[in-house]
Symmetry: C2
Subunit: 111 residues, 2 copies
DNA sequence: TGTGCTAATCGTACAAACACGATATACGAT
DNA sequence: ATCGTATATCGTGTTTGTACGATTAGCACA
């Protein structure tokens, strides 16, 4: 990233990009999908489902947690994760807003 | 990426992640937004709008082109770019499909 | 044929992402 | 107290992304 020009963009663009970036790896897509379909989602269950080492999965979980898409609680010796639907839906609305905005602006193009 | 375990995920997950990744930088969000609102979008116009060097913008354009979200044509000494709405909408549908799928599976969670 | 413009590509530097094994931590059970 | 299990974190190597200046390539026009 050399010198993170990122900050010079509009807040909206940065937020949207961060959300997209969080979904920008198949492992994280897979994790969210797994989390959605299990009621009690323990870290180990996810590790089994993915073709990755435990430590790598842990990293992806951390990334999703940092952006707020998932929450985690400690339950004895294990960790339970779940999607934070409030955050998820916020991002979804934001994304929808952006796509419908640019779709409205859509013009017949010249190329 | 060490050794690109990426290939071991499902095609659907990879496609979705690639799309998200393409949107995973504010510059590329900004580029698409600009492209949507101009009929004749010349590379130079985009460069002026962004806080980045010409060569860097060119790289981002290339990335968007590679995944198919935009098309480019040469027009004399300049380059014209536009969104490939067919591709854009394809990805949008894919994303919608995924979000509604996981929303349906949504359970009251335990954490 | 040369000049001037636009945009792509090259080379480079640095930062971040990805992946793993090894280790540390935290807890339950014995 | 000890052991076993589950998960997080650390250290490390490799790859990819981001950014820039410099150069190249293409085209229009004098």
């Amino acid at each position: 990233m050399a010198l993170a020009r990122k900050e010079e963009f509009a807040r909206k663009e940065i937020d949207l990009a961060d959300f997209a970036k969080a979904l920008g790896h198949p492992a994280r897509i897979a994790i969210l999908t797994v989390l959605a379909q299990k009621k009690e989602c323990i870290c180990g269950d996810i590790v089994i489902d993915l073709p990755l080492a435990q430590s790598t999965v842990s990293q992806h979980l951390k990334a999703l947690k940092e952006i707020g898409l998932i929450k985690g609680t400690v339950d004895g010796p294990r960790s339970r994760y779940c999607i934070d639907w409030k955050v998820f839906e916020k991002f979804q609305r934001q994304f929808d807003g952006w796509t419908s905005k640019i779709s409205e602006l859509k013009q017949e193009n010249t190329c």
